[in-house]
């Protein structure tokens, strides 16, 4: 089951509502298909594949290809490998470093923080749980009001507990939201005048 299925979305929304029962902070969940264009990895895959095809034609005695066909074959292999790479995350994973994927996720999380207006709460008590599917990574970003009251290590501990277990992603996201609610309850308790300021529904990006 995909994390973007309506049933899963509804579960995440319910988890956010439940977490916000215990704290006056707002929890925002954003789910992105991917955090960056990895077109360069696709093109590199195409280049490697067509160089391999060219080498095979020239050096292997088993292949006897007319000269006129060499260029079309190289072009077709290039396009096919490029298309294949963009559909198979394994290829991109092989052709990019984990440090780069991590960096992309952090940048995309900051962009989501801006674009989903996480900073728009009155007391700046909102936290963003950003999930990037292609990289299989998460990032938690909190607004200034929470930064003043919640130690930074909290978010790392939440991430490790919820996403380090190897559980299916939708389970991990729900667990992550529960963990955020549990961590915030004693530090930013619910107050009587607290309003639900930001939508609980996860943002699909």
């Amino acid at each position: 089951m995909s994390i973007r299925d309506p049933g899963v979305i509804a579960r995440i929304e319910a988890a956010v509502a439940a977490a916000e029962e215990k704290t006056s902070a707002e929890v925002v969940v954003a789910i992105a298909r991917s955090s960056g264009g990895y077109r360069d990895a696709d093109l590199l895959a195409g280049a490697i594949a067509s160089l391999a095809a060219l080498s095979l034609i020239v050096y292997s005695p088993h292949f006897d290809v007319r000269h006129g066909l060499v260029l079309p074959i190289a072009a077709v292999v290039f396009l096919a490998a490029t298309a294949l790479s963009s559909r198979l995350p394994g290829v991109r994973r092989l052709l990019t470093t984990s440090a780069r994927r991590r960096r992309q996720v952090v940048l995309a999380a900051k962009l989501a923080f801006f674009e989903e207006r996480v900073a728009a709460t009155r007391d700046r008590l909102a936290v963003l749980l950003y999930v990037s599917l292609e990289e299989g990574e998460v990032e938690i970003l909190s607004d200034t009001g929470l930064d003043a009251r919640v130690p930074r290590e909290t978010w790392r501990a939440v991430t490790e507990r919820a996403f380090g277990s190897g559980a299916p992603l939708e389970e991990a996201v729900v667990a992550g939201i529960n963990e955020i609610g549990r961590a915030l309850a004693p530090l930013v308790p619910k107050t009587v005048e607290d309003r639900d300021e930001l939508p609980n529904r996860p943002r699909i990006r």
């Binding site: 077109r39 360069d40 696709d42 093109l43 590199l44 280049a47 160089l51 000269h67 260029l71 962009l111």
Partner: protein, 207 residues
């Protein structure tokens, strides 16, 4: 990108501006707003395809390099093409204007979060973001300033500033951007007197 003297001048201009408006202006300047890595590979693929075509054509006419040289020469052409595509000029030629402006918009918003422009209590932060490769100037206002800068006159100013940024005198272009933004801000959010600056840095030079 900017020498110490130029940085000091820009910071002084922003400080002077703070006497006229309540908005907290931060200027961020970036060499580019994206890696544009795929352009390298596009350049490599184009040159490799041209060289391979030339080598094969030569073969038809019986005057070409030995066959076994063709794969390494094609690979070499790819590397040379990729290296050639690293220049700003090639980057602009091989990307669409829409792609570049999206990169600038996203990078400006990320810089807004990173520089703490959106973290002021009164939400009166304004980020003036300048990206050299794309020759773009973008102003990202916080919630309290939103809607006060936009409009036809601002679009004309943006275009003028973008043109200045593509010229040789970066320092002058920056000072002009601060002056123009300041004129608008002084009208939209005039100085009311109180409140010290909350954002730590006036000028952010991005790598």
């Amino acid at each position: 990108m900017l020498g110490d003297a130029a940085r000091a001048k820009v910071e002084a201009a922003i400080e002077a501006l703070e006497k006229r408006t309540d908005a907290e202006v931060t200027v961020a300047i970036a060499p580019s707003s994206g890696s544009y890595r795929s352009v390298d590979h596009a350049g490599g693929a184009i040159l490799a395809a041209l060289v391979l075509t030339a080598l094969l054509m030569g073969h038809f006419h019986g005057r070409s390099v030995p066959e076994e040289w063709i794969p390494p020469l094609t690979a070499l052409a790819y590397v040379v093409g990729a290296a050639a595509a690293r220049g700003s000029w090639a980057r602009r030629l091989l990307t669409r204007a829409g792609t570049r402006s999206r990169q600038v918009r996203e990078a400006a918003r990320i810089a807004f979060v990173d520089a703490g422009t959106g973290a002021t209590r009164k939400r009166d932060g304004v980020l003036v973001y300048i990206s050299l490769l794309e020759r773009a100037v973008l102003v990202v206002p916080d919630l309290g300033v939103e809607g006060k800068l936009e409009g036809a006159s601002w679009q004309a100013i943006s275009r003028e500033l973008a043109l200045a940024v593509s010229g040789p005198d970066l320092e002058a272009a920056l000072l002009r951007a601060i002056e123009k933004t300041g004129e608008k801000l002084a009208l939209a959010l005039p100085r009311t007197g109180s409140g010290a600056r909350e954002t730590p840095r006036r000028l952010v030079v991005l790598a």
